[in-house]
C-alpha cells in the first residue's frame, strides 16, 4: 500500500522561506524527500534553481548540512563524501549512524554536464542517492534546452521547438546495474515518499528522478504545478516505475497504462495547457507536431513494457 499524504511524518527539512517561485516543484518534492530521509543526511547541490533559491549566505532553507559543488561533479562529489564518512566512522572519528549522502540536482546537472561523473559513481556503486528534479530544461539560466527537454518544446535555445526526443535517463541509470532506480513526481507524494524510504535502506547507488513541472519553463499557470504533474502521468508522458536489483515494476496509475488495463489520456490536453508546446502549434503542421509528441510517448510506453519483461 502506498503511504497516504495523511500518514507522512511531521518532520520538516525544508524550512519556511526560500527563494523559489510560487508553485515551484523543487522544494515541494524536497519536502516529501525530507520526511523520508530525516535529519541525518548530507545534501549536495549543483548550480540550479534549487541553489538559487536555497537562501543566500548565511541563510539556508534546507535543514541539512549542504554543499554546493561544481556543475559537472554531483556523482564524484557525493562519492567523495560517502567514502569519507565511511572511513571516518571506521576510524572512530565519526560517531553515530552514518548519514545518508544525497544529491539534489536538476536535469541539466544529471542528463548533460553531470552525466559522466554520475555514470562513474553508478558503476562504482558508491553509497549515495542521486535525486534528479527534472523540470525538462535549464530553468535557472533562463530556460534553455537540456537532454530532458521533450520533442516539440520551446526553450530559449530551441526557439522553433526541440526536434529530438528526450533521453530515458532513469533507464540509462538502470543499465548501470545499480540496486535501485525509481521515477516519481510531485502529484504522487506517497509514491515518492515510499521510494525514498526504500532507497535509504539499500546500500549502494540509488537514482530517483522526479518530474518537476516548472511554470516558468513550461508556461502554465503558477498554481497548476500538481495538476500538470498528474496530467503528465495520466497521459503517459511520465511513467512511474521502480526497479530493485534490475527488476522493473510500474506504479499506479502508470501500471494500468502500461498493462493496457486503462488507456492513457490523449496528449492533446497536456500539450495545449503548456505554452512551451502550444505557442508552436499555431501553424498548419500543428496536427503533425502533436502526433510526433504522441508518437514519442507511445514508443516509450511500448519500449518500457517490453524492457520490464527482461528480468535476468
Amino acid at each position: 500500500m502506498t503511504t497516504s499524504i495523511k500518514q507522512l511524518p511531521d518532520n520538516e527539512q525544508v524550512l519556511s522561506g526560500n527563494g523559489s517561485c510560487g508553485g515551484c516543484p523543487s522544494p515541494m518534492a524536497l519536502r516529501i524527500v525530507g520526511k523520508a530521509l530525516g535529519p541525518n543526511a548530507i545534501m549536495l547541490l549543483t548550480p540550479s534553481c534549487a541553489v538559487a533559491s536555497m537562501g543566500m549566505t548565511p541563510r539556508l532553507a534546507y535543514n541539512w548540512p549542504c554543499i554546493n559543488v561544481c556543475f559537472a561533479t554531483a556523482g564524484s562529489s557525493a562519492s567523495g563524501i560517502a567514502q569519507a564518512v565511511e572511513i571516518l566512522k571506521e576510524k572512530g572519528r565519526l560517531q553515530g549512524e552514518l548519514p545518508t549522502v544525497f544529491n539534489w540536482v536538476g536535469d541539466g546537472g544529471t542528463y548533460d554536464i553531470g552525466f559522466q561523473a554520475l555514470s562513474a559513481a553508478a558503476e562504482r556503486n558508491d553509497n549515495i542517492i542521486h535525486f534528479c528534479y527534472n523540470n525538462e530544461a535549464y530553468s535557472n539560466t533562463g530556460v534553455q534546452r537540456s537532454g530532458a527537454t521533450p520533442r516539440g518544446s520551446f526553450t530559449t535555445t530551441t526557439p522553433g521547438g526541440k526536434r529530438q526526443p528526450k533521453k530515458n535517463m532513469a533507464l540509462l541509470m538502470l543499465e548501470h546495474d545499480i540496486p535501485y532506480v525509481a521515477t516519481a513526481t510531485v502529484a504522487y507524494p506517497g509514491d515518492l515518499y515510499d521510494k525514498v524510504v526504500k532507497a535509504k535502506s539499500i546500500p549502494g547507488m540509488k537514482y530517483i528522478e522526479i518530474l518537476a513541472p516548472c511554470y516558468l519553463g513550461w508556461q502554465f499557470d503558477m498554481p497548476d504545478t500538481v495538476q500538470m504533474s498528474r496530467m503528465a502521468v495520466r497521459s503517459g508522458a511520465w511513467l512511474l516505475w521502480e526497479a530493485e536489483n534490475g527488476k522493473i515494476s510500474f506504479n499506479n496509475p502508470s501500471s494500468f497504462i502500461v498493462s493496457g488495463i486503462k488507456d492513457a489520456d490523449p496528449v492533446d490536453e497536456y500539450v495545449m495547457k503548456q505554452g512551451r508546446f502550444n505557442r508552436l502549434l499555431k501553424g498548419p503542421d500543428a496536427a503533425q507536431r502533436i502526433a510526433e509528441i504522441q508518437g514519442d510517448i507511445d514508443r516509450q510506453i511500448a519500449f518500457m513494457r517490453e524492457r520490464a519483461k527482461i528480468t535476468i
Binding site: 548540512p65 554543499i67 562519492s79 576510524k91
Partner: protein, 376 residues
Amino acid sequence: MKEARVIMDTGAHAAALAVKSARVDVVPGYPITPQSSIMEAVAAMVENGELDARFIPVEGEHSTLAAAVAAAAAGARVFTATSSNGLLYMHEVLHMAAGGRLPVVMCNVNRGIFAPWTLWADQQDSFAQRDTGWIQYHCSSNQEVFNTILQAFRVAEQINIPVMVNFDGFTISHCLMPLTLPPQEDIDRFLPPHKPEWRLDPAHPSSFSNVTNAAEYAPFRQMLSSDIMASIPLVKQAAQEYKDITGMWDGDTIDAYRLEDAEVVAFAVNSMAAELRLSIDILREQGIKAGLLRLRLYLPFPADDIVSALPQNAQVMVLDRNYNFGHPGGILAAELKSVLFGRRSDITVKNRVMGIGGVDLTRRYMAAEIRAMMDE
C-alpha cells in the same frame, strides 16, 4: 628510539610513502603519465592494508578533485595527484577548493601541456594555475617530495588552503635516489591527526560554498587573499619544525646555494635547480662568483625572502622552464621583476627560457648559458 631508514626510491613512490606516513583518509585518483605511479602505489597500499584509507578510482581529473574537495568538506584528510592536462582539466575545481577553504594536498608531476603532446617536464602546467588560490611548492629531489608532502598537510590544515606539491616528471618521478624515511613516531609528532574546524555535520546543518551577495563575496575573497600571504610564516615554521624533528632541510620558501658573496645568481625551480648547483660549482671554478637561489615556494611568492637574500648588485639569471605567452621570456622572470621593482634597483634581471618539454638541462649547458647571459 627508532632509527630513520634509508632506501633507494623514485620520486613518485616517495610521494606515495609520504601519503602513507601522513595517514591520509581518502585518495581519489586518475592516471596520467608521469603521475600514474603515485596512484598505483597508493591503490596498492590501500588494497594490501598498509594504508587505512579509501581509494576512489574516478573517471577523470575534474571528478578527482571534486571527490577530493568533497571528502575534505566531510572532514577527511585527502590527497590526490595529477600532471599536465589532468591539472588543466581540474581548473574549475582548483578554484572551488581554495575558495571553499578545503585543505587538500595534491602532487602535480610537472609535464608540458598539449598541444602538441609531450610527456616530459616543464612548468607550464603548475604555473598556469597561478590565480586559483592554491599554495604551490616546487621540489628538486625525491627526498624533498617526501618531506614537502608532510609539511604541506601541516600548512594546509592550519590555514584551510589547499597545497600543490610540484616536481618534475621522470627526472624526479621515475629516477631512483636515496630516500631517508623518518620513524613513523616522528612523523606523527610533526603531523598530528586532522581536526577540521568545520565539516559537513548533520548535527550542525550549515551551507558550504553557498550563494553570496557582493557584501559577503568580497570579504570571502579578501580573506583568501590575505590568508595565502599569511601562510609564509607557517611554511617556514613547518620547515623548521620538520628539521628539528627529522634533521632534514630543503630550504623553506627559498633554498640558497653559495649565495652570500655571489655576483651572478641563478634563479630557478624544480630538478633543474638541483643540477644548477653543479653549474654554480663549474662557474666558481672558472673564477665567477656564482650562486643559486632556488624558489621552493612559488605561491605565495616569497617577495621579502627573495629581496633580502639577493646580494648587493647581483645579476640574476632567471632560467624559466615555461613561457609567459604575450611577454618575452618566462613567468618566473616576470614575477621576480615585479617584486624587485621599487625595492632593489641595484639588481639586474636577465632571463632565458630553456628545457621546454624535457629538453635536457645539463650542468655544463646551464653554466655556459649563464656565462653567455653575463655578456648580454
